[in-house]
Structures are given as C-alpha cells and as structure tokens.
C-alpha cells in the first residue's frame, strides 16, 4: 500500500468515527415523549414519510421544480454510485468491472457531475438562493462534484489514483462538519416528520380522501 492509500483509510476512519458520534448522539437523545392521545399509525406514517411523501406527486418542492428535482436525484444517485465504487477501489475489486460497464458508469458519473454543476450554477445565479447560501454550501457542492469526477477519471485511467484519494480524503474529512452531514440527518428528519404526522393521524395521506 502506498501513502495515499493510508491517507484515504485514515480519513475514512476519522470520518466514520465523527459520523458515528453524530448518530450515537441522535440515538441516545431519542424521540420526544408525547403525552397526548395518539390518533394514528406511526409505523405507516414513517414508511409514508420515506416513500410516497417524497414523490414528485406529493411535494411542491419536487413538482414545481422538476428540472432541479431531476438534477438532484441524478446527482445523489451519482454520489451513491461513487461511494459504492469507493469501497470497490479500496478493496481492490474494481478490476472486476468490465470495459462496457466502466463506460456506462463513467457516462452516468459525467451526467451526475453535470447535474451537480447545474445545481451550483443555479445557486450562484438565483437571487433567493444566493442569499440563502454560505461558503459551506459551495464547498460541499464542489467537493462532491470533484469526487464524482475523480471517480469517473480513476475508472478511466487508474494512474489518477493519487488525485482520487486526495479528493476522497478531503470529502471524507469534511463530511461530518458541514452540510454534507445531511447524509445521515436526512433520515432522522424524515423519521421525526413521520412520527409527528403519524401520531396525529395526518399521515399517511391515504387515510383521508383529501
């Protein structure tokens, strides 16, 4: 193993420990105690929160902004794919991918990077978004864009491994600090929302005609 492999492994360990600390804190604090009389089905509502409530048919943030929503979905799929490939690379399994699959993956990662850049351009050009943004928003976006691009590049040319490990390490170290930590807070947020609406019988929406 070379120094850059060690750098990536150490970054991964630090990142996982820091993320774990966040997650343990959330689990330790637990859900709120509600003394009111429960009116609905919490399990169904939590399931709904993670599924139908996220669909473009239910969320204005999706159906009123379909191009951004689509770009966001592609961007996130590209990130998940890059994470999967990251484990293949550190376990030295990426050689298992054949040329055709490599090309498909590289093509998709190029598309997802373009989506990420599109989101960045929107953030820079739209007045309301610009006012809402801080340096963390830009750093997070750029880091993930570079990460996806580096993943594609290393699949194309394995000699790019040094640049790949450097970008990956930077991303891993930044993950638990800035807004990228929504990677795990997202799940907690959807859980709490499902719990709240389920307790009061607001969700699942199929309980009601309206």
């Amino acid at each position: 193993m070379f120094w850059y492999h060690w750098m990536m492994i150490v970054s991964l360990a630090i990142s996982m420990l820091a993320c774990l600390a966040h997650i343990i804190k959330l689990i330790r604090l637990g859900k709120p105690i509600d003394y009111s009389q429960k009116a609905g089905d919490i399990s169904s509502a939590i399931k709904y929160s993670f599924t139908k409530a996220m669909s473009p048919a239910k969320k204005e943030s999706a159906y009123l902004h379909l191009p951004t929503y689509t770009a966001g979905i592609i961007y996130h799929l590209g990130t998940f794919l890059s994470i999967f490939l990251f484990f293949m690379i550190i376990l030295d399994l990426h050689e298992l991918l054949n040329t055709v699959l490599d090309i498909v993956i590289i093509g998709f990662l190029a598309l997802s990077t373009i989506s990420g850049i599109g989101i960045l351009i929107k953030r820079l050009s739209k007045k309301t978004l610009k006012a809402l943004s801080n340096p963390d928003d830009y750093i997070s976006n750029i880091l993930v864009n570079l990460y996806q691009l580096a993943t594609a590049y290393v699949l194309f040319d394995s000699s790019a491994i040094v640049i790949y490990t450097m970008i990956t390490s930077a991303l891993l170290l930044y993950l638990p600090l800035g807004k990228l930590k929504h990677a795990f807070y997202f799940f907690a947020a959807r859980y709490h929302l499902g719990y709240f609406y389920g307790w009061r019988n607001v969700w699942p929406i199929s309980n009601h005609k309206n």
Binding site: S36, T128, L129, A131, F186, H208
Partner: protein, 435 residues
C-alpha cells in the same frame, strides 16, 4: 426591550442547546438550503423576497445554534454563516419568526428533506421569549389571558350577561324553557369551551352550538372560570405561560367533573390543548379531549341530530385551519358535516392538509404591527376563495373567521364567513313539537 446582557443571552441560547430529545438537533442540522420550500409559503408567494423563503427562517435559528454549538461555527463562523446572538440578529429573528411566519407548517409538508420548519420557528420564538423579545402586542394578549382568564379580558359579569340573553333568545326561538346554556354544572358529559371572540364579537355562534347541544340532547356545561380555548403562549413561545393556561383548563375539567373536554372551533386552541397541552403539563389527561368538529360529525353519524341539506341554496366552500387539519389530523370530519348541510359544496384548490393559511395564524391577528403584511399575504386566500365561486366560506376556527372577514372586506369578495356550528344549527331539523 432592554439591554441584551450576557445573562439574557444565555437564557436564549439555552433553548437551542438543551436537547431533551433528538428532534431539535435533527431539524437544525438538516436544511440543505435548496430553497425549494419558497413557493409553499404565502409570504413568498405574494412577495418573492429572499427573506420570506422558509429556509431563511430555519437558517437564522440554525446559524445561531451553529455559532455556539458546532466545531465549524465556533472556529470558522464565516464558513457556515454562524451568527452571533446580538441586537442585530435578534431584530432579524423577531421580524422573520414573528412578523413573517404564520407557523402554518405548509413548508414542512413540502420540504425536500423533511425539516420541520414550523417546529424550528417555534423553538426560535421560544428563544426570543426566554430573552423577553416577544412583540408587545402578542404578549399583551397572553398577559390578558393569564391575568383575567381569557385573552379578551371579558369580565365574568359581562360573560354571564351575554350568555343569559343568548339563553333567553334560544328559549324564545325554540319555544322551550328547557333550552339552556348551562353554567358551571357538575358531572356533565361535555365541558364546552369558547374562543373569547365569540362572547365578544360573535355571540350567535354560541347560541348555534347551544342549539345543536339541545337537539342532540347533550348533557353539557360551560364554565365561567375557564372557557377560553385559546392559548397564545403557544405562539409567543413562553412555555411557562402556556403551561399556566393549559393547567387552568385541566383544573376546571376536574372541578366540574366533566367526562369530555370539547374544544370550540379554534385551530390553534384545539392544537394547543389537545396535542400540546398534555406535553405542557407533562402528563396524560385523564379524560377525553376532542374538537367540536369531531363532535358535530359524531352527532350526525350517530343520528343524534338531523340536518336538511336542501335548506341552503348558496354555494359553500371550506377553509381548513392549518392547526386543525395539517397539524391536527381533522380533515374528513368537516367535509362530512358540510355534506349534510349543503348540496352545493366546492373545494378550494389546494385544500385539506395542503391548504394555504388564511394569514391570520401564528398570532398574526394579535400583532397589529404586521397588519399590512398580513393583509398582503391574504391575497393567496382571497384568490383561492374567488376561484371557487362560493358565496359562503365555512371554517371551523374563529381566528380564521376574523381573518377571512377582513379578507372579504379588503379584497371585496362579497362572501359570508360562517363556522360549522352556525351552518349545522341553520340546517337542524328539530323534533316536530320543538319546531
């Protein structure tokens, strides 16, 4: 508001840093600043100013949280826009959280991540309240409730007088001296509550409900000690005062030994007692708490009251109060009731859990300094009403009645605003001998 001392500041920061559970921590760390919530907010819809984006309201609270509670916020505050809690940020907080949000929760429903934006705004208001930065007008409403027992400072004498003449009228209308508005009677099935706007401005809605109780042969009473269903401390964010108000209701339920506490048509009032009340008190309530909307629907289902839907020829639409529907799960009952009082019902678009706020929520009606803004955002509701073509707007909330009445005048809609009890009372088919 006084000088911001270190001690006052700490009181505010304590609200954000003390976590009894993971809910606040989660929602303060989840927003990704995508801004896709903007169109879900009535403020942004009428004025596309960046300050009205719901995420901005979350961000200002979260930015203060970050400054004092996170590694990046403490070491490199500019990187995450972590802000100091000072006079400047407090002014902005007051304007955004009190003056630019009705806490309707519509943005929460549509947030791409699932941030409970309404909850974060409420915690922000709690922080401001802990430091003494609640707008004076809103605080005056809370003070009135704490000091006099109701938010309109109605004296017991005035209240009893009003009920007496309403009772006389009811007996005359029904030609039955047993048609009563009982006061402080013990061991009844129902202890009914009121929005103080009723005895003050809309007394006929009290007689409407009394008429329904009479038709349903309900065993019920009102209390002169505690009848106010509202709890404006829910809006001001003062949990101690919210607790005092909820405690009074609980005490009166026990004093009168009633079986069921029925909350009048009031969105936030029903939320504040049915859903938040037990949590203010820190215990389960040993009796049933229900809304008058659910009770009216139950009377119809059980055949305890009969209604004639042919009597009303006008087109009726419905405004769903945010706290009753979106945050309270009462969604179908009001429609079920209306299906029995009219054959000319038309829905607003959108409606139900997705309905737009009328603009009067979040204590806006009590904060006169934001009146102009309140009437401006009401355009969304005015347009919704207009496009239904209805001449009657039904709404099970007296706060909404007040706001919708002002919308009607301001936007010259020419509609009549009615509560469900009023519509039900008008449609009642009484026994032959009691007609």
């Amino acid at each position: 508001m006084g000088v911001l001392t270190e001690e006052i500041k700490q009181r505010g920061l304590e609200v954000l840093s003390s976590h009894g559970n993971s809910k606040l921590l989660t929602h303060l760390n989840s927003c990704v600043h995508c801004g896709l919530c903007s169109n879900s907010c009535v403020y942004y819809k009428v004025d596309a100013d960046e300050h009205y984006v719901p995420a901005k309201k979350v961000d200002i609270v979260a930015s203060i949280y970050r400054r004092y509670n996170t590694f990046l916020g403490k070491t490199l505050p500019k990187l995450t826009n972590a802000r100091d809690l000072d006079e400047t940020s407090i002014d902005e907080l007051v304007d955004l959280l009190f003056g630019s949000c009705t806490m309707c929760g519509r943005c929460t429903l549509h947030c791409s991540i699932g941030v409970d934006i309404g909850y974060v705004v409420r915690k922000g208001r709690e922080m401001l309240s802990a430091m003494g930065y609640v707008p004076k007008t809103l605080q005056a409403t809370v003070d009135a409730a704490i000091e006099t027992g109701n938010n309109m400072s109605i004296s017991t004498e005035e209240f009893v007088d009003t009920l007496k003449w309403l009772e006389d009228d009811l007996q005359y209308e029904l030609d039955d001296e047993n048609a009563n508005i009982p006061l402080n009677e013990k061991s009844k099935n129902v202890m009914y509550t009121l929005n103080p706007r009723e005895p003050k401005f809309f007394p006929l809605s009290i007689s409407a409900m009394a008429k329904v109780f009479y038709a349903a042969k309900e065993s019920w009473t009102l209390s002169t000690e505690m009848y106010d269903v509202t709890n404006y401390a829910f809006f001001s964010g003062n949990m101690d005062e919210a607790n005092i108000i909820a405690q009074r209701m609980d005490t009166e339920m026990k004093n009168l030994d009633a079986t069921k506490c029925v909350l009048a048509e009031c969105g936030h009032g029903s939320r504040a007692y049915k859903w938040e009340g037990p949590n203010y008190l820190g215990r389960k309530l040993p009796y049933e708490v229900t809304t008058s909307v659910e009770l009216l629907a139950q009377y119809i289902r059980d055949g305890r009251i009969k209604l004639d839907p042919e009597r009303l020829s006008e087109v009726v639409t419905l405004h769903d109060p945010c706290n009753l529907a979106r945050s309270g799960g009462v969604i179908e009952e009001q429609r079920y009731i209306l299906s029995h009082v009219t054959k000319n019902f038309v829905e607003m678009t959108p409606h139900g859990v997705d309905n737009f706020c009328c603009g009067g929520g979040g204590g806006q009606l009590a904060m006169s300094e934001y009146n102009e803004r309140r009437m401006k955002i009401a355009k969304v509701k005015a347009d919704q009403i207009k496009s239904t073509g209805a001449s009657i707007v039904a709404t099970p909330c007296h706060n909404c009645v007040d706001q919708l009445t002002q919308i009607d005048q301001h936007y010259k809609l020419g509609v009549k605003i009615m509560t469900l009890a009023e519509l039900v009372a008008d449609a009642l088919v009484l026994d032959e001998e009691k007609k």
